[in-house]
Structures are given as C-alpha cells and as structure tokens.
C-alpha cells in the first residue's frame, strides 16, 4: 500500500495556500506532500513516502488558519481554501520544542556514530532545532550497540521511536522483523529476547532509520559519508538486477546501497544485495593466471596461460570445444565470448545454464518475466509454483506483497512451504513430480480429486484455489526451478500453459537464472539461439550475424551443458571453457561432472576464486568482478542496465572481454574492439531496441505451442522403503563462491542442513540439530537435521549453494533421487 495517490482528474483538484503561495493538488494529497511538491520543505522523522502517514514524531507541525492548534502536515489532507503556514514563529517554536524533547534522551554521540553526516536528526537539529538543551538530568540508558545478528547493530539510546523500521517490517517486507517492546518511558525497538533479527530486508531499515539507531555491522566505522566515492552499479546476485550505488573509500568497497529505480527495486534492496559485496575485496581473490604444470596449478604469465589456451583451441576441432557460463559477466563480455567461440573458433556448444540438467529450449520456455517487475504488483492474483520467492528473488516479493495488500490472493504450490506461505490464501503442498497433475486440476483440465491423488495436495484446497483464480481477471503465474528442474518439465510447462489459459490468458513468468542470466539469454549464450532470441536454425538470422562479424556462424545446433558433459565422458568434447561458473559444485550431479572432467583434454576457467572447478582446471584465468568493470547487464525482465567500474582488480586480473579479445588475436582473427561502448553499440546492430534502460522481454509462445505430453499422468516417485524424495532449494543466504566470502551473508546462512517432516523424523529417529548422513545412490553428505512441518511428508529438503556440502553430490542428472537419512553419533 503506497501513500502516493494516483493522479486525479482536474475536477478532483483542491486549491490551498501554503506560505502565501496558491497551490493546486489532487484530492487526497496531504498538506506535507502538497508543500513538498511545491518545493517547500517541512521536516519529518516518522513519515516516509513509501508508507502511510503515522503522525508519531510531531516534527511536521504547521499552522493552518481556522485550526486552533498546530497540525501534523503528514496526516492532514489538503482541503479546499486551506491556508497553511510552515514558517511562522509558532511553527518554529514547535519545531524547536520537538527537537529539544527528542534530544532529551538522544546521546548526541555523533562523533562515534556511523550515521553522522547523513543523519536526518543531525540535519534537522542544525536547521530547525534549538542551539542548546536545558536538560541536565540523566538520559535514558541502554546497553550500547547490541548486535542483532551478523548485519544489524541496534543502539536504543539513539532511537527516537519514529516506528519507521517496525512499519517497514509490517507494511513493506511483511516479515515483522523488529517491533516495539515495553511501553511508555521503557519503549524500545527490539526482537524477542534480543535474538538475532530474522529478516531478508533489514538493510532497508538502516537506510530509512532517521537516526543512528539501526546501523550496519559490515560498514561499522569503515568510512564517513563524505569520504565515500559513489559509483552506480547493479546487484550481481539473484537476477532481479537491483540498481545499487557502491561506496568506495580509497581502494575499499565500503558498502552497497539501493539506488532508486521505480521499475525494478524502487528504493529497496534485499540483504544479500546490501551485504553481499565483501567478496570483491577478499584476500582469496585470484591475482595471477594459473597453469597446470607437473600435475599442480602454478602461477604463470598471461602470455603463457593464454598461449596454452590458444594452442588447445587451435588443435581441437570446433565441435569438440564447449563453453559454459557467462551469467556472471557483462553483456559486452558475453557478446565477445560469442564472437570468439561462434565466430572464430566455430562452435555452437555454448550454454550459460550451468545449474540445470533439464534445459528446455529457450524458444519454448525462455527464462524470465514477460511483464515488468513493477507490473507484478498490479496482478489480481498470483500463482507461485515451485519458487521460494524470498529465497530466490526477494525484491519480487515486495511487489507481490503490494499486490496482496491490494487484495490479490496468492496461491502457492510446491514440495515445501516457501517462507511467504503465511501470506498465501491457498497453500498446495504436494509431492515432487505431482506438479503437472496439480496444475491441470487448478486449470480445470482434470478433476480436483485426480490432481489430489497424483500430487498429495488436498482436493478441497485445489478446488478452492481454482475458484479463486477463476475470479481474477488479471492473474500472473510464476514458476520456478523446483517445478521445472525435473524430467517431467515438459508436462509441467504444458500444464502451466493450460493454467494460464484457464486464468483468462495470464502471463507466465519462469523465475530462473541468476546474475546476468537475462543478458546471457538475450545475447544467445545458448546452443540453439542467436542474439535477440533469433533461432540458430533461421538462415537469415545466421547471415545477419555473419554480416556484422565478417565470419560465418556454424549452423548445426550445439550441445547443452548436460550434452557437453555427456560428450566429454564419451571423449567427444575435448576442451571445456568455463566462464564464471562452478559446475563442480553447482551442476546438479557432481559425479557426472567428475566423470566429464576426466574425459576432458583441457579445462579452462575464468574465476574470481579457486573454486572446486578451478582446482581441477588446466588453466585458471583471474578475472575482474562486477565492481571492477564498466558495462551492462540484463535482469530477469530483460532490462538492460549499466554498471560502472568502482575499483581496480586484484593483481593482474583482466576482464573476460580482454581475455576473449586476446585469444581471438592469438587465433589469427583479431576483434577490433576499442571500448565497451563500441561493443554495446555493435550488440545494438543485432538486437532491435537494444538500449540502456530498455526491456527486452523474453518471447512467449502462445499457450500450448509446441508443448506436448499434457495427457501423460504423473506417477508417484519410485523409491526404496524408508527413503525420502530429495528436493533441493535455493537459499538467499548461502555459502557459495561469493556469499561464503561475505561475512554478512555467510553468517546468516548458518550450517547446511536437511529438513524432514516431523512424522518422517519420528519414524527415522531424527531430532532437530542432530548430525546425520544423507545418502543417495550417487553419494553422501553429512548434514544437520532440521525438523520442519513445511516440507511435504516423505520428502527431504536440502539447500543448494553450500560449497562445503554441495547437494549436487546427491543429485542425479538422470532423474529424481531418493535419499536415506540416518542419524550419526547416536548410540
């Protein structure tokens, strides 16, 4: 719910006078907003324009003719012929009194407060406050700087009880992370028993806190605001591509802040976005190329390393070369990757989807949102299938929350309850593999009873959800990795189409991909696609590309990641080139990767760190991180945004683009590239509409187009007695390559675990926190047990993204796996 009202027609305008100036504003505008819109500043603390007015702080008092007392302008609706004065002596006296009272208990420890220099209390006191205090008594005292988890530092002495943080949790994030405790003089912001705050959005409360009560643990004492250089950037993590500002002091990245982008993240950021930047300055960053010599990786010059790569590429037939990755690079990097590998080397074995064993053709199921992120909040109903929204795309949740506040029902379906289940009107928790039947039942294509029998979700609930959806004229269907990363994905897609059709042609979003997956997809880092979503099979598309490149584009479709690994095992693929990806940890079958690695003659890796994949490589090339290069990226809605260089890279690290250009020269076909702008412009010659800020939404075929198998019934997953069906999900806070090196993210991730339903736990003798062995036919992991009623009976949930315990060890690219969970250390 936003307090910003929709513009009214002229008939609904009201006319008032503020400080002698005639002013016209739409009916419903508050006096504070009317003043603000006309350049008159009235100080506030509690009011924040993304939340409804509260009137708690009294800072915004103004004088209104015919009103006996001063009025809080933030809560007062502008009325016809109102005469408002904001600068009278009475107002000034009131402002001084309010500030004097607020400062009664405020410690005025500005010299050691991180907010100093960007503090509304400091600024307002200077501009509107009394020069001195008459208060000589003892101030309210609390324990200073209480650490509320890895990222939040709370100082209750500084708090002026404006309630912004509490209301953010209630209204914007819906996580109720912080609350007011006690009463009257003892009132304070806290969590139960001062436990670590449980939130994925708490960084925003630090941003909107008008004093230094809520500050960041990672930024603590790192810089003063005026010493920070600000650089525009884009968050590299989940795929939402939130606009950010990087703060840099000297050679240090001191913090990340949200940059206002109304269409993407508005003014918010999730906590991975806020605190997931410290990997950039990690001492573990690779500083020089590494080359395998005598069985071990040793430092080498660029000349030696690239010479080795060029030799490998030259001596291998193009079909035996494969490239995976690209989702962590810029669009310009990725485009030059294409020019090198499609144009110069001559292979179509290119795929950015490193973490999927069941890729669907992009022409039929492109990843991403067909609508703008901002449109999500305008849906009348939202269906979320197999997506743990706050864990995977947290900023989208804030839009969904706004839709819910407008009255839109949320329907969730999945093998486990997503974190936002509390907000759902209908929760359909089902067996893995039952998605298609469940969705068809929701669509009305099969009876609810049949959907229930095949999925394990109650028929009653399916019927109720179907009725709800039928009543929504503009529904939105969002499906995630958990629903589509399985052998029956074709059937799930067909059922999703059926559901969209039944929901009056609702758009279907496929919430998959991270980092710059959106850019990799639109550029065609895919075995069968060319830039701009044009199919490789289209000769005119190939010719258009060849015309720009001056080199032919091979016509035979390439292999997917899975196909490349299969080919490597069969010794049909000899050179694998991995760009900013860690398939050894993230490809959903660790054993398949290892076997493929053994079949490769040469493995080349572009990396920031010595990942599991890099450790096994023949050549490791140190590259620049997102904050170290200028270029563009595209997010899950296909929006192209620019990020600027904020820092120099470590050692002799280079950008991916520089490496591709160098290799092309070594292969005898130089790419004449002078700047990223030139590359950006060249992409524009291939992709109509390509521009900074443009949204190149993934194409959607009509419902049912080219998808079949809808009639095939889903069967229950075969599994041995006592075993559980394994489901793997993403967590916002994990311990992957980047997150593990960000204390603010790593600390919130905790240790890897396996979650089982209480009934299964009781049957298997598992208790909360107990160490256990999870074993699948592919491998075993040691994890801590978490007993959780949110996971469907008969299932075991394990998080992806823990490099120390990669769930890929258990997964099997050939199909779903069943696992046994056995207590360890029990007598």
């Amino acid at each position: 719910m936003s307090s910003e009202r929709a513009p009214a027609s002229p008939a609904q305008m009201v006319h008032l006078t503020i400080d002698g100036r005639p002013v016209a504003v739409p009916k419903g505008t508050t006096v504070w907003q009317a003043a603000r819109q006309n350049g008159i500043e009235v100080p506030v603390f509690c009011y924040h324009d993304r939340m409804p007015p509260l009137g708690a702080c009294r800072m915004c008092l103004v004088e209104v003719e015919k009103m006996p007392k001063l009025a809080t302008s933030c809560t007062l609706e502008a009325g016809e012929d109102m005469v408002v004065r904001t600068q009278t002596d009475r107002v000034r006296q009131a402002q001084q009194a309010i500030l004097e009272l607020l400062l009664v208990n405020h410690p005025l420890d500005c010299p050691i407060c991180d907010k100093g220099g960007e503090c509304p209390l400091q600024d307002n006191t200077l501009r509107f406050g009394p020069g001195q205090s008459r208060f000589v008594e003892t101030k309210r005292q609390f324990r200073k700087h209480v650490r509320m988890g890895p990222v939040l530092v709370l100082d209750r002495e500084r708090c002026i009880l404006c309630w912004r943080c509490v209301r953010f949790g209630e209204i914007v994030a819906g996580d109720d992370a912080l609350k007011g405790f006690e009463r009257g003089y003892h009132s304070q912001i806290a969590t139960p028993a001062m436990e670590p705050v449980r939130s994925k959005f708490i960084g925003n409360t630090m941003e909107i806190c008008p004093v230094g009560a809520l500050t960041s643990a990672t930024y603590r004492f790192r810089s003063r605001p005026w010493d920070n250089r600000t650089v525009q950037s884009v968050c590299p993590h989940c795929g939402c591509g939130c606009a950010t500002t990087l703060n840099v002091r000297g050679a240090d990245l001191t913090r990340t802040r949200p940059r206002e982008h109304p269409e993407v993240n508005d003014i918010w950021l999730c906590d991975k976005g806020f605190f997931g930047y410290e990997f950039v300055g990690s001492p573990e960053r690779l500083r020089a190329p590494l080359v395998r010599r005598d069985g071990a990786l040793r430092e080498a010059t660029w000349d030696e390393a690239l010479g080795r790569v060029a030799d490998a590429l030259r001596s291998t037939s193009p079909e035996a070369v494969g490239v995976i990755g690209g989702a962590r690079s810029t669009n310009e990097d990725d485009y030059l990757l294409l020019r090198l590998f499609r144009g110069v080397v001559g292979t179509n074995n290119i795929d950015f989807r490193v973490e999927t064993a069941y890729p669907q053709p992009t022409s039929r199921a492109a990843w991403g949102l067909p609508v703008a992120i901002a449109d999500v909040e305008r849906a009348d109903a939202i269906v979320l299938v197999g997506c743990d929204l706050t864990e995977e795309y947290p900023i989208l949740w804030l839009r969904v929350k706004k839709a819910i506040d407008r009255g839109a029902p949320l329907v969730i379906a999945g093998a486990w309850e997503p974190e936002v289940a509390r907000w759902a009107q209908h929760r359909l928790i089902h067996r893995r593999g039952g998605e298609a039947a469940l969705l068809r039942a929701l669509a009305g294509g099969v009876r609810a009873e049949d959907g229930a029998a095949a999925s394990g979700a109650p028929a009653e609930a399916i019927r109720a959800a179907a009725d709800t959806l039928r009543a929504a004229p503009r529904a939105l269907v969002l499906a995630g990795e958990a629903a589509l990363e399985q052998p029956g994905a074709e059937r799930v897609l067909a059922a999703l189409d059926e559901l969209c059709a039944a929901c009056h042609g609702a758009p279907l979003g496929i919430l998959r991909g991270r980092g710059n997956s959106g850019g990799a997809q639109v550029l065609g880092l895919l075995p069968d696609m060319l830039p701009g979503y044009r199919p490789l099979g289209d000769p005119s598309a190939r010719e258009a590309v060849a015309a720009v490149w001056g080199r032919p584009v091979p016509s035979a479709p390439g292999r997917t990641v899975r196909g490349m690994l299969e080919a490597a095992r069969a010794a049909d693929l000899e050179v694998l080139y991995v760009v900013g990806a860690d398939p050894a940890s993230d490809y959903p079958d660790a054993r398949a990767w290892e076997e493929a690695r053994r079949g490769l003659r040469c493995l080349v890796v572009h990396e920031l760190f010595l990942t599991r994949t890099a450790e096994a490589a023949d050549v490791v090339l140190p590259v620049l991180a997102y904050a170290e290069k200028t270029g563009t990226v595209a997010n899950i809605e296909g929006r192209v945004q620019r990020q600027d260089q904020a820092l120099l890279g470590p050692g002799v690290a280079r950008s991916d683009a520089e490496i591709f250009v160098d290799l092309a020269s070594r292969l005898g076909s130089p790419l004449a590239v002078a700047s990223w702008e030139q590359v950006f412009a060249e992409i524009g010659r291939m992709i109509p509409g390509w521009a900074e800020g443009a949204r190149l939404a993934p194409p959607r075929p009509g419902a049912g187009a080219g998808r079949d198998g809808a009639g095939i019934p889903d069967g229950p997953l075969p599994r041995p007695e006592g075993a559980l069906a394994l489901v793997a999900g993403r967590r916002l806070f994990d311990r992957g390559t980047m997150a593990a090196r960000c204390p603010g993210v790593r600390g919130q991730a905790g240790e890897p675990f396996v979650a089982v339903h209480p009934e299964d736990a009781a049957r298997l003798g598992l208790r909360d926190g107990m160490p256990c062995e999870v074993r699948s036919p592919r491998g075993a992991l040691r994890l801590a047990v978490r007993v959780w009623a949110g996971v469907h009976r008969g299932h075991a949930y394990a998080p992806r993204g823990y490099d120390s315990a990669p769930v890929s060890v258990l997964l099997d690219e050939r199909g779903p796996v069943a696992v046994t969970v056995r207590p360890l250390g029990a007598p």
Binding site: G169, F181, R422
Partner: protein
C-alpha cells in the same frame, strides 16, 4: 509442534481465535492461558502462542512486554500486587507492603527464593472503598491488615493458585 503448551491450552487458544475475525484479537487471552500454564511467558511459550495463532513471534512478544501483568522472566507461582495509589496510601498501604515484604524476605518486584511468591506494587486496583487493597493472583482482598496478610499467605500455601480464566474476580 508446540513445545511447552499442553493440548488443553492450545485448544483454549483455538477457541479464543475462533471468536474473532483476526487472530491478533486473540493474543491477550492466548497469552493469559499460556502464562497460567507455564508460570511466565518463556520464549518457547511465546513461540507456541505465535504458531497457534499464525502470527509472527515478534508481534506476540511485543504485546507480551507491553502489559505489566505478563512476565517474560520466571516469577513466583503466586503474584501479590499491593496498590500504592492515593486511597490506599492514605489508608496505610505502606504498612501492608512493608509487612508482606518483611514476612517473605523480599523487596517489591522480587520473588521469594523458593519461587513461591512475587510481590509487586500495583497502580489503582479500582476498589478505593476497600482501601488498602491488594490482588493475590486473580483475587482482590480489601481492608487489608498485617493479620489478614498473614492469613492470606497461609491460604496461598493451601491453595495452589486461585484463578479464573475470565479475569480478576470481585468480592461481590
């Protein structure tokens, strides 16, 4: 998956929840029921109440700390609250409080070492005509004298806890 609350209390909470359109409305009766069973509102009890009502535990805990009749730390099994407002003051509440504290060996706000009795100072108990007044658990006792305090303390030993779910009972 309640951790500390019994099925009976959970059923009572469910009944309270069913009475209102919003679960928030049932927080106070639920907290009373939980405190009655556990003795105070432990973190586990707050978790159970939150889960039973489908509310965030932060919200439930916030309410629990707002009201002075809820305890988030362990306190005596019996709670004696002595009114020290004007009418009671004029009628000798100091002597009552003093006698109570000396007999039990505690200061106001403290619980006896055996965990039996908490003594607190209360604001007006709305029975000025019977001043001085105190509240022993849920029962109000008026016209208090040191002798009546002694009798009350003996009665506390005999009766585990005189309570009624509907709130303080009058001496009607």
């Amino acid at each position: 998956m309640a951790r500390v609350l019994s099925q009976a209390v959970l059923a009572e909470i469910e009944r309270a929840r069913a009475r209102y359109p919003r679960p928030q409305s049932a927080v106070l009766p639920a907290l009373h029921a939980a405190q009655e069973e556990v003795g105070y509102l432990s973190p586990e009890a707050l978790d159970d109440v939150a889960e039973a009502l489908g509310l965030p535990v932060t919200e439930v805990a916030s309410v629990a700390t707002f009201y002075s009749m809820f305890f988030t730390e362990p306190v005596g099994r019996h709670k004696i609250r002595v009114c020290t407002n004007l009418s009671c003051y004029l009628n000798g509440c100091e002597e009552i409080l003093d006698h109570l504290c000396r007999t039990l060996g505690v200061r106001p706000g403290e619980t006896t070492a055996d965990g039996r009795v908490l003594v607190e100072v209360a604001e007006c108990l709305a029975a000025c005509e019977e001043a001085p007044v105190l509240l022993a658990d849920e029962d109000r006792h008026g016209h208090m004298t040191p002798a009546k305090v002694d009798a009350l303390l003996r009665a506390l030993d005999r009766e585990p806890s005189a309570t009624s779910p509907t709130g303080p009972a009058g001496d009607a």
